[in-house]
C-alpha cells in the first residue's frame, strides 16, 4: 500500500513517466505494426496513444500541485521548475492533440477493414513531435530535483556524477517499458494475435537487456553520491534500493530469456507454446511487482517529498543482501568459480557470434542461415551465464570496476550487441537465405556491428585488471 502516492509530487513522479518514456515503447510497437501491416496491433497502438492523451490531464494537475511542495525544498532550482512548466504545457498540448487524432482514426476505422493510411501517417508524425517535446520537458523536469548532484565537481579518484544522471534516466526504460509490453502481451494473448505476441516478446527481451546497464549505472551512481558523502543521501536507503534492484535484474533477465527462447522456437514450430507464454506472463507480473518496489525504494533515496508517515526507512548501512553477497564474493573460494563460469560464458558467446556473423558475411555459403540459427541458443545461454556471473564479480569490487576506463565501452556495447542479435531471430530476409545465397547488405552491416560489439565487450572485460586510470 505504501506505493500508492499520498502527495502531488509523488503522483507526478509516477504518472509523468508514462506519456514520456512510455511513448517511446508505444511508438516502437506502432512502427512494428506499420512494418508488418498488423491491423490489430495498429488499432491497439491507436487506443494506447489516446490513453496517453487522457493521462496528460493527471500529469498536468499533479505537476501543478507539486510546484508549491518543491518550493519548500532546498537544492531545488526554481528557474528549472519554471522552464519545465512551460515545456510541459507544449508537450501536454501535443500529447492531447495526437491522442485525439489517434482515437478519431480508430473510431472512423471501426466499420472498415483497415484504418486509413493517411490517418496512420498523421498519428505517426504527431507522436514523433510529441516525443521531442516530451523529451525536452522530461530532461528539464529531471534536472529540477537532481540539479545539485549533477552539477557537483568530480573529486580526485571519485566516480563521475554523470552516471547518476544516466541512471535516473535509464531506470525508467525497463520499468515503464515493461508496463506497456505487458499490456500488448496480454492483448495479444487474448486476441490470439501472433504478430502482437511476437512484438511483445521482443520488447520483453529488450527490457531484459536494458536491465544490465541500468543496474551497473546504479552501482556507479551509488559511489558518486556516497564517496564523498552527500548531505541527505543515505547509504542504508541506497542498500534497500539495490537489494530489490538485484532481484529486478534477475526477474528482467528471466523474463527476457524465456521470451527469447519462445521467439527462437517460433521460427521452427510456426506457433507459440501456450505453456511458455503463460510462464512469460507469470514471470513478467512478478518482475513488474518487484520493479515497482525497487522504483519506490529508489525514489526514497533523493525524494524526501514522497516520504509518508508510515514509511520505515532502513538506517543501518551494513544490512541487506547486497552487502552480504559483496562480502561473500570477495572471498577467493566464491570469486574464482564464478569467474571461471564467466570465461566459459564468453567463449560460448564468441564462438556463436563468430559462426553466425561469418555465414551472414558470405563464408560457409553451403550452409543455409536456418542451420546456423540453430546455434543461437548457445550464445544466449552464454550471455545469461555472463550477466549472472558478471554481476557477482562486479559486486566483489564495484568501486574499482566502475572507474576503470575499459568498463564503460564494455557496458555500452553489451546492450548494443545483445539487441542487434535480436535481428538474427526476427529477420524474415535472413531466414530465407538458403545454401549458396548471399545475405542482404543490411544484414551484413548488422553482422559487423554484432561482431565488433562482442569483441569490444570481451576485450573490455579482459583489460579491466590492466588498464587503470
Amino acid at each position: 500500500m505504501h506505493l500508492i502516492p499520498e502527495s502531488w509530487s509523488h503522483f507526478h513522479l509516477l504518472v509523468s513517466v508514462f506519456p514520456s518514456v512510455g511513448l517511446i515503447f508505444a511508438l516502437g510497437f506502432y512502427i512494428a505494426a506499420l512494418a508488418t501491416d498488423n491491423e490489430t496491433l495498429k488499432r491497439a497502438c491507436l487506443f494506447v496513444f489516446g490513453c496517453l492523451g487522457v493521462l496528460a490531464l493527471p500529469t498536468y494537475l499533479s505537476g501543478h500541485g507539486a510546484l508549491p511542495q518543491l518550493a519548500d525544498r532546498p537544492f531545488t532550482s526554481q528557474e528549472q521548475a519554471h522552464a519545465h512548466y512551460l515545456w510541459s504545457l507544449a508537450a501536454i498540448a501535443a500529447v492531447v492533440l495526437s491522442g485525439l487524432t489517434a482515437w478519431v482514426a480508430l473510431w472512423r476505422g471501426q466499420q472498415r477493414p483497415k484504418v486509413s493510411a493517411a490517418a496512420l501517417k498523421a498519428v505517426l508524425g504527431l507522436e514523433a513531435i510529441t516525443l521531442v517535446l516530451m523529451g525536452a520537458a522530461a530532461w528539464i523536469g529531471w534536472d529540477i530535483n537532481h540539479h545539485r548532484e549533477f552539477s557537483l565537481p568530480t573529486p580526485d579518484m571519485g566516480t563521475p556524477t554523470v552516471w547518476a544522471h544516466i541512471h535516473v534516466i535509464l531506470n525508467h526504460f525497463p520499468t515503464v517499458g515493461f508496463v506497456f509490453t505487458l499490456f500488448f502481451f496480454c492483448f495479444g494473448l487474448i486476441r490470439r494475435n501472433e504478430g502482437m505476441t511476437r512484438a511483445a516478446l521482443t520488447a520483453f527481451v529488450i527490457c531484459g537487456i536494458l536491465g544490465a546497464p541500468t543496474y551497473v549505472t546504479g552501482a556507479a551512481a551509488m559511489f558518486s553520491l556516497t564517496q564523498p558523502p552527500l548531505t541527505g543521501i543515505s547509504q542504508a536507503a541506497i542498500n534497500a534500493h539495490r537489494d530489490w534492484a538485484l532481484i529486478s535484474l534477475f526477474g528482467l533477465g528471466a523474463t527476457g530469456a524465456v521470451a527469447w527462447i519462445e521467439l527462437w522456437r517460433y521460427r521452427y514450430l510456426r506457433r507459440f507454446s501456450r505453456f511458455s507464454l503463460n510462464v512469460v506472463l507469470v514471470l513478467a507480473i512478478v518482475t513488474l511487482a518487484v520493479m515497482a518496489e525497487t522504483g519506490h525504494r529508489g525514489g526514497q533515496i533523493n525524494h524526501p517529498e514522497i516520504h509518508v508517515a508510515g514509511d520505515v526507512l532502513r538506517t543501518d548501512p551494513t544490512l541487506g543482501w547486497s552487502t552480504v553477497i559483496e562480502q561473500l564474493i570477495n572471498n577467493v573460494i566464491w570469486f574464482v568459480p564464478w569467474q571461471t563460469v564467466h570465461f566459459f560464458g564468453y567463449t560460448l558467446v564468441f564462438a556463436t557470434v563468430l559462426v553466425v556473423c561469418l555465414r551472414i558475411l558470405g563464408l560457409f555459403k553451403s550452409i543455409p542461415f536456418s542451420a546456423v540459427h540453430r546455434l543461437l541458443p548457445l550464445g544466449v545461454f552464454g550471455v545469461i551465464m555472463n550477466v549472472f556471473t558478471g554481476m557477482l564479480m562486479l559486486m566483489a569490487d564495484t568501486g574499482r570496476y566502475v572507474n576503470e576506463p575499459s568498463f564503460w565501452p564494455k557496458m555500452f556495447f553489451l546492450p548494443i550487441g545483445a539487441t542487434a542479435v535480436l535481428y538474427f531471430s526476427l529477420s524474415e530476409d535472413l531466414w530465407k537465405v538458403k545454401a549458396g545465397d548471399d545475405a542482404t547488405a543490411g544484414a551484413k552491416a548488422v553482422a559487423v556491428l554484432v561482431f565488433a560489439s562482442w569483441v569490444i565487450v570481451i576485450m573490455g572485460g579482459r583489460l579491466l585488471p590492466y588498464l587503470t586510470l
Binding site: Y268, P337, T340, F344, L378, M385
Partner: protein, 34 residues
C-alpha cells in the same frame, strides 16, 4: 584444493545446466526442422 573443488562443482552445475537446457530445447524443434 577447496578452490579447485569449488571451480569444478560450480562449472559443472552451471555449464551442465546450460547444455541440458540446450539439449531439450533442440529436441523440441527437431521434428519441425526436418
Amino acid at each position: 584444493m577447496h578452490v579447485f573443488l569449488m571451480v569444478v562443482a560450480v562449472s559443472a552445475c552451471v555449464v551442465g545446466g546450460a547444455f541440458t537446457a540446450m539439449f531439450f530445447l533442440n529436441r523440441s524443434v527437431d521434428e519441425a526442422d526436418r
